[in-house]
Amino acid sequence: MANEKKTLGERLILPELMKGYAVTLKTLASKPTTMQYPEERWQMARRYRGYPKLVMDEQGEPKCVACGLCAVVCPPNAIELQAGEVPRAKERQPIDFKIHMGRCINCGYCEEACPKSAIEMSKMYELNTTSLDDMIYSKEVLLQDY
């Protein structure tokens, strides 16, 4: 406000300037808080829910039996899968498993619904792509470690 009464110290400017420099000097000496993303990254909390991924069993096969419970529980309908028969003890396995990560809302319901602990929420949160189609993760991508 133009007609607001200022104190003498303020009117002299210089003391205020010194105060400002003091703050600057103090911060200059301390460790910076800004993280140099993407060179530096957060260590996510254990309970953090990133995007879901599929889990492998000891034989290197997906644990998933394609029961479809994750797909039916998924609020934004981001999961699509097709079961198929395999000649192994497990009998049933997804022949196709797709998650549209652009739709995923990281709610973690799929992980909760899964009777085989075959899908879990990863710590991954980055989706930057140049095409929407890249956000549809195929079975092969979902089984990778991310």
């Binding site: 039996v65 394609a66 029961c67 479809g68 419970l69 797909a71 039916v72 079961a83 198929g84 028969e85 003890a89 497990k90 009998e91 049933r92 009777p115 085989k116």
Partner: protein
């Protein structure tokens, strides 16, 4: 009328009612596993155990007859405790692989264990492991671990289909179901055991692991594989029919389907199906837009629509819904002025057949077979052509002791329950029947005569394919040879699921809708109602149409098929004759036959994509609901558009509007609506009896 009390509620029941049926009439939910209304009661699952006052032990509700004064406790703490124990026994060795199991979501074991089970397992030892994948036959795969030994499958093959191809082996916890050594489950009804199996032990090899129950949309359908008209549930996912299951209808199929109808669904999602309309340009078929195809069709028909009468011919497949037959015949009759309407090569609607109908000689309902003293089957193997009717024949033999006589060209499975069987070729069937009639009348030497000469109720099932036409007069002679006041009836079984409906709706060169003979007078009557230019001159049958086409006297030809694949199988002379027709339009799903000869091909819809009614061989009109949203218009919609391009207004294109018109115009369909047609089906027989006086 015994009066009993169930959980404090009183009910009067008929003698012979079981406690389970009485409780269900009261609206009480009775946990049940081995009980099935279509099978004999065995009471092996023990989950319906209830307490009857005064009896020391629990008794199964399904196998206990209600007796005056019974005081039954279905949900007393003791009964619930017993039930909990039964469920615990089931689950002892049940693998609980519900996420993998096909039955998950429609499994009574899941439901019952959830509602009445203990909720926890006390089992510390490992479960008994068995075979997880046993191929029983071409359609059925068994998971031995999941089986809870309800005996439904074994009872089905023993009582209903009579093949005895599933049995129990071993004893105690090691008991498994399976086929007898060296045999496989290859009877024509094997798919029913998959429907019957309450758990996921018997799975269909076609459907196995393809889809979870909740992923599919289900709707009420009618099987179009033959004229039995079995009620089905159609289950589809992503525009493809995944499976058919039986929908109970006591008048038609009871609880059963045959394998031929049940497993023939893959074509609905076949990539080879016509997707776009095609037009012949420079003698090659190319995909075109719908609008262009419709315009081409209107143009092609316009020329013949204005010329003289009987210049256009239409050939129909025998499994279209009533609504399509009606719309097409009305269009061809009223707007193209032609009676050249043909159903296949051989016209089955001949005067002697219509006479049988007019005299009330037709079997009013297939369910009446159960009341017959004797059944005579003439012609082909019923189990191959109309399999579910054969189950009805077996039931009559089993439950009433009906005598069965077979006169068929080859050895068949029904012979095992037949009193007598004889090899008769279809061509000789008429002669055989006339001779038999003569022998019954005059007394002759034939193994069937002892039974037939005194029988009050006899049904003759004629199943001789194309030879059916020649047999009609012999049928009359045979039916008339019964003793005085006897009611001998017949059912003539033709190929195709809706041929009788088509006949009633006028797909015939000689008959207008309602079995009215084509005459100038009738034509005048139709002209006042329909407008247009209905011809009073009878059309020709297919061979004659072909010779007319060869002479260049046919201006346009419509080949109409929808619902399921159909092979026209034209001979080379027919093909040459068709090539001389200036304009040929085909409605089809896929067929190399039409691709050769048609000028315009319009993709038609599969049975799962059509709303419509079908008429069974015994005259029941049943509604099938659309299950899959089609990509293109239905044949009725197409015809509607083409008609409006030609400046004609037609009823429809909604099937329900077309059906209202049928109910108004065709006496046999009088008073019917979609409501009746969906509730178990509407009968055409009452109106049929009145045909004679018309």
């Amino acid at each position: 009328m015994p009066k009993i009390k169930i959980d404090g509620r009183e009910i009067d029941v008929r003698k012979g009612t079981t406690l389970l049926q009485a409780a269900e009439r009261l609206g009480l939910e009775v946990p049940q596993m081995c009980y099935h209304p279509g099978l004999r009661i065995v009471g092996v699952c023990r989950v319906c155990l209830c307490q009857v006052k005064g009896q020391p032990k629990m008794t199964p509700a399904c196998a206990t007859e209600a007796v005056e004064g019974m005081d039954v406790a279905l949900y007393s703490p003791e009964a619930e405790k017993a039930r909990r124990a039964v469920i615990e026994f089931w689950l002892l060795n049940h693998p609980l692989d519900c996420p993998v199991c096909d039955q998950g979501g429609e499994c009574p074991l899941q439901d019952i264990a959830f509602d009445h089970g203990p909720g926890i397992s006390r089992l510390a030892d490992p479960k008994v492991l068995k075979q997880k994948r046993v191929v029983l036959g071409p359609h059925v795969v068994l998971d031995e671990e999941r089986c809870i030994l309800c005996w439904r499958c074994t009872r089905f093959t023993q009582e209903v289909s009579g093949s005895y191809q599933i049995m129990l082996r071993e004893r105690g916890a090691a008991t498994v179901v399976g086929t007898p050594p060296g045999q496989s489950l290859d009877e024509p009804y094997s798919g029913n055991v998959v429907d019957l199996c309450p758990v996921g032990a018997l799975t269909s090899s076609d459907f196995r692991f393809k889809s979870r129950i909740w992923e599919m949309a289900s709707s009420e359908g009618i099987c179009t594989a033959c004229s039995v008209g079995c009620n089905t549930f159609v289950w589809s996912k992503k525009g493809a029919v995944e499976r058919l299951t039986a929908r109970p209808n006591p008048q038609v199929n009871e609880y059963w389907l045959c394998d031929r109808g049940r497993f023939d669904v893959a074509f609905t999602a076949d990539p080879e199906r016509f997707k776009n309309p095609q037009m012949r340009v420079n003698d090659r078929m190319i995909d075109v837009e719908w609008e262009d195809a419709l315009l081409a069709m209107a143009e092609g028909l316009r020329a013949s629509a204005t010329r003289g009468q009987n210049q256009v011919a239409a050939l129909f497949a025998p499994h279209l819904p009533n609504e399509e037959y009606w719309t097409f015949q009305k269009f061809v009759r009223a707007n193209l002025g032609s009676n050249h309407l043909s159903m296949g090569r051989r016209e089955t609607l001949v005067p002697s057949r219509v006479d049988l109908v007019r005299r009330g000689r037709m079997l009013p309902s297939i369910a009446d077979l159960e009341q017959m003293d004797a059944i005579v089957i003439l012609g082909g193997d019923l189990e191959r052509t109309h399999p579910v009717y054969a189950l009805r024949v077996r039931k009559a033999v089993r439950e009433r002791g009906t005598k069965l006589f077979l006169a068929t060209p080859e050895a068949e499975r029904l012979e095992h329950v037949a009193e007598f069987s004889e090899r008769v070729a279809p061509a000789a069937a008429a002669e055989w029947l006339t001779q038999l009639a003569g022998k019954i009348k005059k007394g002759g030497d034939h193994p069937a005569i002892g039974t037939l000469a005194g029988a009050q109720k006899v049904a003759l099932l004629v199943n001789a394919g194309d030879a059916n036409v020649e047999i009609a007069e012999a049928i009359e002679a045979f039916l008339g040879s019964g003793p005085k006041d006897s009611t001998w009836k017949t059912l003539v079984l033709d190929e195709g699921s809706n041929r009788w409906g088509a006949s009633l709706l006028g797909i015939s060169p000689h008959y207008y809708p309602g079995l009215k003979i084509v005459t100038a007078d009738e034509a005048q009557g139709l002209k006042t109602r329909w407008g247009g230019r209905v011809s009073g001159e009878p059309g020709r049958e297919w061979p004659d149409i072909m010779s007319l086409a060869g002479d260049g006297k046919i201006q346009a030809l419509l080949l109409v098929n929808s619902g399921r694949p159909h092979r026209w199988s034209f001979t080379s002379t027919e093909r040459a004759a068709i090539k001389r027709i200036p304009f040929v339009a085909a409605f089809d799903l896929f067929s190399a036959d039409v691709q050769d000869v048609a000028h315009v091909i319009l993709p038609s819809l599969s049975f799962a994509e059509l709303d419509g009614t079908y008429t069974t061989a015994d005259g029941i009109v049943q509604l099938a609901r659309r299950n899959i949203v089609p990509r293109g218009p239905s044949p009725v919609q197409v015809l509607h558009r083409v008609a409006s391009m030609l400046g004609v207004k037609m009823k429809g294109p909604d099937p329900i509007e077309v059906f209202r018109e049928i109910a108004r115009e065709v006496p046999q369909f009088a008073g019917m609506d979609y409501g009746q047609a969906s509730r178990g089906g509407a009968r055409t027989d009452r109106a049929l009896a009145g045909v004679g006086s018309r």
